[in-house]
Symmetry: C2
Subunit: 551 residues, 2 copies
């Protein structure tokens, strides 16, 4: 029996997983893992926390060393060896040994590409000045740490308000540096719907982070006095002692493209459900491939470690002749900064619209992570997206201080299993006072959506608040109402609604608001049963304030 | 249109939910809520924490007052009114007003019984001595607080090591009282499988709680010197300044039984899936009813707030002519004490055996709640139970310091949706270093089980370790092996296995152990592919030490 020779290009996440899985499945295979960097299997998600000195010890970032691969898995690892081309006809690759300069060829029976993605560097003037960093590798994070330790920077500009940008902002702040984030879009955290990102934005501001929204970087300058000046497209000049670029990543598809493998429209390597490229002897996994979104069917770039690992396993299994399939992504993601957790799974409103899907509806709610009578209750702001025609859960976004990932994990599992909002209503989840509520946040999300689908309450669209001629009633108590309320609203506390109903119009819709949407729902039930055309403003004032932010 | 008259007996959890839901569904119904206690809709799950002064303010325990029911829901509430009998033919109830002593009758179109459950009081000598308490109501918890505040007790005996007993133990300890728990069974937390309860037991002992297992209370005495003496069946005499009985609850089914309603074998009121009793005009919800376990089909008593709430909604909907069904329980539960979280969902091994089901298998694992390179990683001890024939997830138990409820909630959702262990493998959950791992604990549980079902690894049964003639190999490093290991094991570190394989027997099974089961799995893959008959001891040393505790 001849030994199968598998060569894997790129030894982080998907590549490393694939290698280890291959060995477990086939003790006989010859496995060679090549990486152009000095390390394999390192914790790239941990890099911002190494910069922030939350993780003190660089060695902790190394999940597996070449020695461990050799000893435990009988896998040969060559770091600082870059694969420069693929000869698909001959099934060989050309490798450049970066230490010695030697070029050599290696034969493969199966080739797995796991090259990852590279941080985008805008072609701005001054982009290569010292003090401007991107963060992808252990050497990158070491350089940033060294810069911080030696230069003691006071001011940082983080370019990009995505997940990595916010993690970097937190970690730089943790090092005592004043941080300004510059974000080209009109919101931070682009995967989120805009109004949900507002909750994160207000928390960032509250923690002293400066935000410059809707503005991009134009150029970088090094004044004679030292430091850096970041000039923005909007005309601002920001002082910085350090700049971190976090404006996204781009799939490393050059090798695949030059080898003539099919590349998708988003620039990632195109693979089938077995992670096979357009060449039957070549697989690809991780950040460099395009994946199909399970909710929209769209091809996307989803640079996340979880899917990369699953893909690595699928590639290994297929190479070993097993039946395995990668069934697309929900794009479940989480990000923590300054005690806040932001998480999402499945489709957002914006990604459904982008995909041309309009059979959906959203509800907003703001339950506490556990019963409010137990100390330490904090609200979780939730947006649940579901299919109008059959109640299928399509996605959820959540932001709060505690137990946010838990709720998104539950909803991710529900989406994976094709659950409906009615299933969420009935989910039987952990409850004790410090852990949740008899009606958990997830149950409440399901109930809010199910109430709409069953016709028990109609929602008024926040987006039409400016244009409606509806009669707006705020059913909170006067002391709540007088602090702030929906523009033009009349205050009728819920407890007085039955007695004051006579004064309400029958010829106009009545839109009802409250604090978080619960009392408005009760009010709508009362009004509807008394013949009024009532609708609830979903999520109440807590949603209003981010739909119509003051600034 | 005549108004429907609905009378609800019992105003906590299920009863209160039912009342509020009824009003939302039917603005016209006449709704009367009766409770023999002085409060409705109070937070009974919060009572131990009020005793412990974690919740300072008694008013916080009142989730809704009679005034709120009247004002917001137009529901009449009568507290301190006990329903003493039901005349089913006349559709009336006899009510005893406990304040005035008056007896009166009320007519109903629909009657909902939500009487709850009562703490079991063993018929021991001395059971009524002062200083011996049970905990069911706000007045109960107030009495215990007063006792603690005025008597300054130094020693407490908690009778019963179930969820409530452990919550009481924590809260008494929190008040500075030395606690001894007396538990008749050979394990604490009876819903758990015994070996899983061991992890909780060792933590309790580490936190200074004294445990007296396999021993019951015989009698209580009040010595002339003051205080109490708790005499156990095993002959011990324990000093106590306060005793809390937490040996379980019994459904309050007397009213239903005397009315001739069908009672189940466990002593609870029998209802159909619409929460209707054997009388079509009477519904019952909450702790007093028997519910069907969704995994075993067995009728059980599950005194939990989540199911009670769902049942209240189902009863209300059915009464209003809607189609709603209660689909049984997974018995998801959680308990926190001394920084530890214990949670479970679905079937345990013991409940499957009790139901005569043997088409199942278990895996043990001990992943951290998040990546180990991020500070603050703690293991979660997990037992996953799944169906052997098709991989359906049947249940899970988990114990650890952080993010335990999250994993059990995910698995509960998976069970609800009929997921298999293969679905758990592929679950796409939240990952960032402080929140999880690219392979989350839930993924790992699915993988461990799927590896067994796919035949990639065979598990050796821990229970047969004493009797086997298998060759036991421990593949940990020598420094781990020498601290402690499975009796009779030979040490061959995983990295040396390929080179030392020649010395292993081909005529005997090889059972492989390690720290948590991961290296043993790798070793089994190697050995099996080289023709050995190898099996893995699931969960490794971390499971061994609770399977074979030292005492």
């Amino acid at each position: 029996m001849s030994r199968k020779r598998v060569v894997i290009v790129g030894g982080v996440a998907g590549g490393a997983t694939c290698a280890a899985r291959l060995r477990r499945m086939d003790e006989n295979a010859e496995i060679l893992l090549l990486d152009r960097g000095p390390y394999v299997s390192f914790a790239n998600c941990g890099l911002p926390y190494y910069v922030g000195n939350v993780i003190h010890d660089e060695a902790k970032l190394l999940l597996a060393t070449p020695a461990l691969f050799r000893e435990r898995f009988n896998i040969e690892v060559r770091t600082c060896n870059e694969v420069v081309s693929i000869d698909r006809a001959a099934r060989t690759i050309a490798v450049h040994d970066l230490d010695t300069g030697r070029e050599y060829r290696e034969h493969y029976d199966a080739l797995v590409l796991s090259p990852g993605s590279a941080p985008v560097r805008p072609p701005c003037c001054g982009i290569d000045l010292p003090g401007i960093f991107t963060l992808r590798s252990i050497p990158d994070s070491r350089e940033i740490r060294t810069w911080i330790d030696s230069k003691d920077p006071r001011k940082a500009v983080v370019v990009g308000g995505g997940f990595i940008g916010l993690e970097m902002a937190e970690n730089l702040a943790h090092r005592g540096i004043a941080v300004t984030i510059v974000e080209l879009a009109d919101q931070i955290m682009p995967p989120l719907d805009r109004e949900m990102a507002e909750y994160a934005r207000e928390q960032l501001i509250a923690r002293g982070i400066r935000l410059r929204m809707g503005d991009g970087v134009a150029s970088f300058e090094q004044p004679p006095s030292g430091g850096l000046i970041v000039r923005t497209q909007g005309g601002a000049a920001l002082d910085a002692d350090i700049v971190v670029l976090a404006i996204g990543v781009r799939p490393e598809a050059k090798l695949a493209r030059e080898a003539g493998l099919e590349i998708g429209r988003r620039g990632g390597i195109r693979v089938d459900s077995r992670m096979r490229t357009s060449d039957p002897h070549i697989w690809a996994v991780g950040d460099a491939v395009e994946v199909q979104n399970r909710l929209t069917g769209q091809w996307e770039l989803i640079p996340l470690a979880g899917p990369a690992n699953r893909q690595g396993r699928v590639a290994a299994d297929t190479i070993c002749g097993r039946d395995a399939e990668f069934d697309g992504v929900l794009a479940t993601a989480v990000c923590g900064f300054f005690g806040l957790t932001v998480a999402l799974t499945g489709a957002t409103e914006k990604c459904l619209r982008r995909a041309g899907i309009d059979d959906f509806q959203c509800v907003y709610l703001h339950p506490n992570q556990h019963v409010s009578y137990y100390p330490g209750a904090h609200p979780i702001h939730i947006k649940l997206v579901f299919r109008k025609s059959d109640g299928r859960v399509l996605g959820a976004q959540a932001i709060g201080e505690a137990d946010v990932a838990r709720r998104i994990d539950v909803i991710a599992t529900a989406i994976q299993m094709n659950a409906t909002v009615f299933d969420l209503e009935n989910a039987e989840l952990c409850y004790a006072p410090q852990f949740g509520a008899a009606k958990d946040a997830v149950n409440l999300a399901g109930m809010a959506a199910a109430n709409v689908l069953r016709g028990d309450v109609a929602l008024a669209p926040w987006q039409e608040l400016d244009d409606t001629d509806a009669y707006i009633v705020d059913v909170r108590e006067p002391h709540e109402f007088h602090r702030d309320s929906v523009d033009g609203a009349v205050n009728i506390p819920l407890g007085q609604l039955r007695s004051k109903m006579a004064g309400l119009p029958h010829d106009r819709e009545i839109w009802v608001s409250c604090g978080i949407g619960q009392r408005a729902y009760y009010a709508c039930r009362i009004l509807t049963q008394h013949g009024f055309r009532a609708r609830s403003l979903s999520g109440g004032y807590q949603t209003y304030r981010v739909m119509y932010p003051l600034e």
